[in-house]
């Protein structure tokens, strides 16, 4: 029973982080039809910046907000000065269909290398703001710690803020409109390009939060967030890649699934589990478990 409860809780906190990464991929995909593989690279940059801030000032929360800002800024820059010129340049030939994938992949590599140059490739820790020791229940010590609870709370707050932004504000409306139908949005007086860059910035912020929340329970290295990217992508696909609700559901499903498999079967089956999830969803329900009507074509 203890094992079940702690798996459930750990799964939730893990799933919460996957959800954020997944949301950041979904936001970019909805507005630009690009799966931003460089998101892991951008998150690693913002997380290293956070590491630097924690080291200098000792404040996790200051670092947290600096990371969000850095992530948002970096993502906006990537859209404005990298993706847009790319779309303008690459317009013909067989490369067009794969150019965004290839370009974000290249960017991922460059960002990883830059981080390696600046901070080195050794593993670096970021101290958690609250205890990482599990709660004790009677004589048992659960693996679920105050930090995991904090992760769930922070992600919940971020999700509520995001859904308020998207559902209740004019800005959210223009974000949704320009993702849904850019031409009609432009005709209605929305500055689609600027809104799109803003959407990227929000995605970058979500990715940055995922990055810094994931780090205290493990270590930071130039490729430590690649795993998060893969899980975030799997979560996004489980959720249908179009929907933010789907992204959250997908993240939680994946987090719980992975945790239960690693606690009850074997810890080394984490990746295969995620992969099987991905393949099964794609075979059985290609439009995701929270699906819209649109068919799955790039």
């Amino acid at each position: 029973m203890y094992k079940f409860i702690s798996s459930l809780l750990i799964g939730l906190s893990l799933g919460a982080i996957y959800s954020l990464m997944s949301i950041s991929l979904v936001l970019v995909w909805r507005s630009t039809r690009v799966v931003n593989f460089a998101q892991a690279g951008q998150a690693i940059v913002s997380t290293y910046i956070a590491y630097e801030v924690v080291n200098r000032t000792g404040s996790f929360w200051l670092a947290f907000f600096v990371a969000i800002l850095a992530g948002a800024l970096l993502c906006a820059i990537v859209d404005r000065y990298f993706m847009r010129p790319l779309f303008k340049r690459v317009t013909s030939g067989p490369i067009v269909a794969i150019a965004p994938v290839v370009a974000t992949l290249g960017l991922l590599g460059v960002l990883r290398a830059v981080v390696g140059f600046v901070w080195g490739v050794e593993l670096k820790p970021i101290a958690a703001p609250v205890s990482l020791d599990g709660y004790s229940l009677g004589s048992e010590v659960l693996p679920f710690a105050p930090y995991n609870a904090l992760v769930i709370v922070v992600v919940a707050v971020v999700l509520i803020a995001l859904s308020l932004l998207f559902q209740k504000t004019n800005l959210g409306l223009s974000l949704r409109a320009s993702a849904y139908s850019p031409e009609i949005a432009r005709l209605s007086g929305i500055r689609v390009n600027e809104i799109r860059t803003l959407g990227w910035a929000i995605a970058g912020a979500a990715g940055a939060i995922a990055g810094i929340l994931a780090t205290p329970t493990s270590y930071l290295s130039p490729n430590s967030l690649d795993i998060l990217l893969v899980f975030g992508f799997a979560a996004a696909v489980i959720g249908g890649l179009e929907s933010m609700v789907g992204a959250v559901v997908g993240g939680l499903v994946l987090g719980l699934g992975v945790t239960f498999v690693s606690n009850y079967v074997s810890t080394s089956l984490i990746f295969p589990t995620a992969f099987v999830f991905l393949i099964v969803i794609l075979l059985v329900r290609p439009s995701g478990i929270v699906s819209g009507k649109r068919s799955r074509r790039a």
Binding site: A99, G120, D226, V230, I279, P286
Partner: protein
Amino acid sequence: MRKRLLLFIALGWVLLLIGDRVDELRVYQGASIAVYVIAIGSIILLTGYSGQISLGHGALMAFGGYVAALCVANASLPLWFAFVMAALVTGIFGGILGFAAARLSGPYLAGTTLALAVGLPSLANQFSILGGEQGIYLDPGLPPASLGESFSQYKWFFWITTLAALITMFWLANILQSKYGRTWRALRSNDVAAQLCGVHTGRQKVLAFSLSSGLAGLAGALLVLTISTVSPSAFPLSLSFALVTGAVVSGIYDLKGVMLGAVILVIIPEVADSVASRFGDSLKITSTLPGLLVSALLILAVLFTPNGPGEKLHHLRHKRKTHSG
């Protein structure tokens, strides 16, 4: 086709002569180039022709490598048979994967194959028959005695890999010009139109994915031959990325450019080493520079020669002609 066969035989002869005249290191690099030629060829078949993208070909290479090593180490089958098995079994595995892949397009496929690349090597630690982190030793055997005393092992690798690469390229060049190649191109440019012309899109995509996987498996087996062990660390994520880079640099649609991509992939670590030693060989630089070079090259290639150097040259020549005329 006969002309092409003669051309390939001549090319093989020239390579053989070159192999006799350069030192051991170059011969070894030649073998690596041949391996990359096959691997990049498999990506060109998949991406340039059938329009599917894979970021997981490194994992498929690992699959082929393990198949070959198991054939030699456990069943003590002859080397050539192990290579055939590697290509076949990986092809079948790719076909199964292709059933999922054929439903996907663009980024879905990219992400799924990326997950494969991250996940498959770690599976090797799960099954004891695969030898965990250390992997399996593959005894490449000595070169046949009839080739003479002074015939080195590296030259033997070079012969095997070059022969495999030549056969592969010959086969690829033919199949891409055949009915299948045309069908795939039709699929890539407009799958609805292709379907209207009676092409079974799903089946053709699975076929392309399966053939491409088979080639990747063969390349993996040959790679394992040249390094004589197969282990998860020999097939990192960066290998899959490097293959995509190689294919984009070669021109994703251009089989002739394959040599260029393969040579660049082999040269990059060497360039990185020499640059790193100039900056005092710190771990920081030696471990990040190759990745930086590969990724930067990928970005530059996409921005400046998106469809390969061949097309760029063609364009330039065309421009000059219209200017002077």
